[in-house]
Symmetry: C2
Subunit: 379 residues, 2 copies
Amino acid sequence: MTNATTSTDSGIVQLTISPRIRRSPFYAATVRDGVSHFTVYNKMLMPLSFGHLSAEYQRLMHGVAMWDVAVERQVEVSGPDAHALVQALSARDLSTMQVGQGKYVAMCDHSGRLLNDPVLLKLSDRYWFSLADSDMLMWVRAVAAERGFAVDVCEPDVSPLAIQGPKAEALAVKLFGERVRAIKYFGCIETDLQGIPLVLCRSGWSKQGGFELFLRDGSRGDALWEMVKAAGQEFGIGPGAPNHIERVESGLLSWGGDTTPDTNPFEANMAKFVDVDCAADYIGKAALQKIAAQGPARLMVGLRLDGQAPSDWPLIERAPVLLDGRQVGTMSAVVFSPALQCTIGIAQVQREVVQAGQRVQVVTPIGLQGAVTQALPFI
Amino acid sequence: MTNATTSTDSGIVQLTISPRIRRSPFYAATVRDGVSHFTVYNKMLMPLSFGHLSAEYQRLMHGVAMWDVAVERQVEVSGPDAHALVQALSARDLSTMQVGQGKYVAMCDHSGRLLNDPVLLKLSDRYWFSLADSDMLMWVRAVAAERGFAVDVCEPDVSPLAIQGPKAEALAVKLFGERVRAIKYFGCIETDLQGIPLVLCRSGWSKQGGFELFLRDGSRGDALWEMVKAAGQEFGIGPGAPNHIERVESGLLSWGGDTTPDTNPFEANMAKFVDVDCAADYIGKAALQKIAAQGPARLMVGLRLDGQAPSDWPLIERAPVLLDGRQVGTMSAVVFSPALQCTIGIAQVQREVVQAGQRVQVVTPIGLQGAVTQALPFI
């Protein structure tokens, strides 16, 4: 099964574009700026690289990068029962949530399986679940209709553009004024940029700080991209994308990449975002209480691999992790860390293997590789 | 927005493979056989071509082709309330459905929106929804749990391999014996091939006839591919994929390609598969009854375009369809038909434009193109 030796072993294939796979409002701009690699996420094309992954990493770590993350689609909930529905869908106590706040929430099914790990934003008159890669619009509508909630549920015309990195705040101040310094993590304000309607949120899929500009009019994508790019010149801004190197170093969860359809939020290391003892009720609460009491069967850990992963070893499927020849987990991401100067990975392993310093082996296309477990994040 | 002139205008981009995008049990075999282009469907890589689209078309029309359609994932429903749940999810009267039967069904939400258009198979002890490209596992589980049905719902290890074309039946007879001739359209039997467990169904996403072999053990994908390939040599079998040319000629619906999230089954020309007057109740019935009474606002039609579509005009997003300068619909697929020797397309248009012979215009990257409407299918 793994003996095929063709171009697809490079980890790159040719994708045919079609109307079935949507394009972002920033698509034309990213093409102009040299986007080279994509993935498909929420049935949309998502830039993954502009051909210089290492430079993109350095820009994120030391400057500011701009990312087309329009694939983070929103499910919008409004109407009289909006709060009740959003609470029913979120494994977290939302009773004190204020307008302008955001929260990282686990959306689980009735058995506690993690269906998505969005950031939930509370705007003046509506909620947005800002989503990972699953069709949550159907899930939200199913629960709303089955329970008879008086709500409107839709996918609005909203497309985030992220600015990430240590100079992102200076850029945000230049664009939106000093007021942005007061925005807390996951805090958001409804504003505009020269008439382009936006929600500005201190968020983004990196640990390097920054903001996401939730564009509320897809026809203005090109204009917004150019405006941010022009303002960012003095900070050395350049295009990028959620960065594979940084996300492994920072231990950021990739839903669907690190998780499987049966993963619960505890197994995804989301315990601190799950409230099992609150008064609020939500779907999956009983199942999650039971898991919390027993402890999860698996957890996410970091792996520090012996030697370096060769550049011709893309991880195109999860790699088995062995302890004494027995499979105890799978590795879902691997990368050479410039910061640590070694090869690191993210794995889901059985609980008994979780303790830091456990020696394991990883099954790779180039043979068994030794590795040592450690807590996430690496940095 | 449409002025970018780069390699992505070819309609092809580089896709980075990752564990987030699953591979089929037939992946290694398709790589060996020269797969050249993919799409992503149900978060899996799906072969679209082996580099010879015209030859693949001829093989489908005159011989037999084998397709990796493992992306047609199944949602399996079993348990005491399986029939009740499956009926609640299907906009069609299933009261007389027998074991070994399949039915093309519209799965709709409470407002009548088409969520998926699977073939539903009734096996001896379970049902399978054989799905188009949306996360129906969540939808089915949501309804099951909210209504308290006693069912098990899962995505089983099942991956279809299609054999399609006029010689597919002879190949099926060679593989499975004369009994396959008695299988009716969408009929299925549970069987095996030299110990490889299968469901064999007379189905497939073409109008050229054939079968789908629903592999029930993903570890045997390579073996099954090679067995079918070897048996098919005398019939001139070769690899292919759901064929864009044939599907436009035949007017086959591409859910998510031809439809939008708000399309109802009547607008998708599925009226004859929707039962609004039956005794059975299902989600969306009231909404669909209302739409049936009023008539749908839009319908799918064929377009016969003036002139030929140049080969450098891939349809990467829906093209507006104009009547007297006013937009009356969108075209979602276009291709040069070898059978008709002209360029044809599929469009969703407002009801008043539906009558055959209506002259319209299509907005394309190379300018306005005249076209004439006609009923689907073309052939």
